[in-house]
């Protein structure tokens, strides 16, 4: 056995024994690369994910709703920061990750490239988008890479408030006027399929899943998670008195799960490739915020340097 093979088999033995991998431990280069890509994509998704909801903060229908939404969007910023810091433990620079987002080489979840055209969308995002995110994230709390797993524990603790505030918005609409009920149904009609796509391609078209599961980065396949999401969402939709926009949803006694229709993967890949309704606008907004903040970052650094020089002079005098 070569040295690398020996290291690799020791690494795999640790993973098999559920021993967490920490930043300074030896790890295969591909494991490191996979994690950097996954964690930074995840971080970017949290950051870009603030934009569709930010759109409604000033127009929330009550102070209660505004407070809830503000707190949720602030949490998403926090999630982005936990995740960037987890990615940085693998030897990448924050500034480079941000640059990759801005120049389009890094991806983020395609769900955030859809517009929020009605207030009900804030409810639908909390219910379906955060709901799908929770399905994905809970197993990540047991990911083999320690810093990622720990970041996900913090994230998951905060997510349940996000989903509940969303569902409460929808529940209120479901008990409202005819116009409010229509707004609710119309919104869910638009968000259902993009939320279903959040779990990624079908298992048959997901060539990296096997390796990620062996490394215990992933614990369930895309289709397994998607099925769980369908099963809980169908029941929850009944409480809202709405229909899900999929005529093929039907209880399958034999499988013990709900069957569902075929996802429009052409739409999915089209949005991933940058042609969704808001891809351009989302990145433009991020770049603008970053560029307009450049002088603030520079000024803070200049101030810090000046202060530390002044302090070291004082020490010399004393």
């Amino acid at each position: 056995m070569t040295n690398i093979q020996a290291l690799e088999s020791r690494f795999q033995a640790k993973v098999d024994d559920e021993v967490k991998i920490e930043p300074k431990d030896w790890m295969p280069e591909k494991y490191r690369k996979t994690l950097i890509r996954q964690i930074s994509q995840h971080a970017h998704s949290e950051i870009v994910g603030m934009l569709p909801e930010g759109n409604w903060i000033t127009r929330a229908p009550s102070l209660r709703r505004k407070l809830g939404l503000l707190a949720k969007v602030q949490d998403e910023a926090g999630h982005g920061l936990y995740l960037y810091s987890a990615a940085e433990t693998l030897g990448v620079e924050r500034a480079d990750l941000i640059e990759q987002l801005h120049n389009g080489t890094a991806k983020y979840s395609s769900i955030f490239n859809y517009p929020t055209t009605s207030w009900a969308d804030i409810g639908s995002i909390g219910w379906l988008v955060d709901g799908a995110a929770i399905m994905n994230q809970v197993p990540l709390c047991r990911c083999s890479y320690g810093p990622y797993a720990r970041a996900m524990v913090r994230v998951c603790k905060e997510e349940s408030f996000h989903q509940r505030q969303g569902f409460e918005i929808l529940l209120t609409l479901s008990k409202g006027t005819e116009a409010q009920k229509e707004m609710l149904q119309e919104s869910v009609n638009r968000w259902w399929w993009p939320a279903m796509m959040m779990f990624g391609p079908n298992d048959a078209d997901s060539p990296h899943t096997a390796q990620s599961m062996k490394w215990k980065i992933k614990r369930f396949t895309n289709d397994e998670l998607r099925q769980k999401f369908v099963d809980v969402s169908v029941e929850q939709a009944k409480i809202l008195n709405i229909t899900l926009p999929d005529p093929d949803i039907k209880w399958n006694e034999e499988r013990g799960h709900y069957d569902y229709g075929v996802i429009d993967w052409e739409e999915f890949w089209n949005v991933v490739k940058g042609n969704g309704p808001c891809n351009h606008e989302r990145i433009q907004t991020r770049v603008k915020a970053h560029e307009e903040g450049a002088w603030v970052r520079a000024a803070a650094m200049a101030h810090a340097e000046k202060r530390s020089q002044r302090n070291s002079k004082k020490e010399q005098v004393a």
């Binding site: 602030q74 926090g78 936990y82 940085e88 433990t89 924050r94 480079d96 913090r154």
Partner: protein, 95 residues
């Protein structure tokens, strides 16, 4: 100036009086004052802490995991450091 990071800080939080400060993650800040303010916003939004320590990451020296065996194995065969190593009769109370 474009791709320059603010320095990285490691954040330690005391979750309540009487407990140790515990590492929770890291963040970027221009100086220690900003690091504490940012740590407050990033890591204690739900009263997770009563005290924050920030240490610039470059000041941390860590043990080398590949030397783990050499460092920690010597303790494994020193069972006499544990109370259960000593044989005493059951009648003996309060010990």
């Amino acid at each position: 100036m474009k791709n320059q990071n603010w320095p990285l800080w490691e954040i330690f939080i005391r979750s309540k009086q009487g407990l140790n400060h515990k590492h929770v993650g890291s963040l970027h800040a221009a100086d220690e004052k900003m690091a504490i303010e940012n740590a407050r916003d990033v890591y204690t939004r739900r009263s997770e802490g009563v005290s924050i320590w920030v240490v610039e990451s470059k000041h941390i020296t860590a043990s080398d995991p590949s030397e783990g065996e050499a460092l920690y194995e010597p303790a494994n065969d020193k069972v006499y450091r544990h109370p259960t190593f000593y044989d005493l009769p059951d009648e003996l109370k309060h010990m």
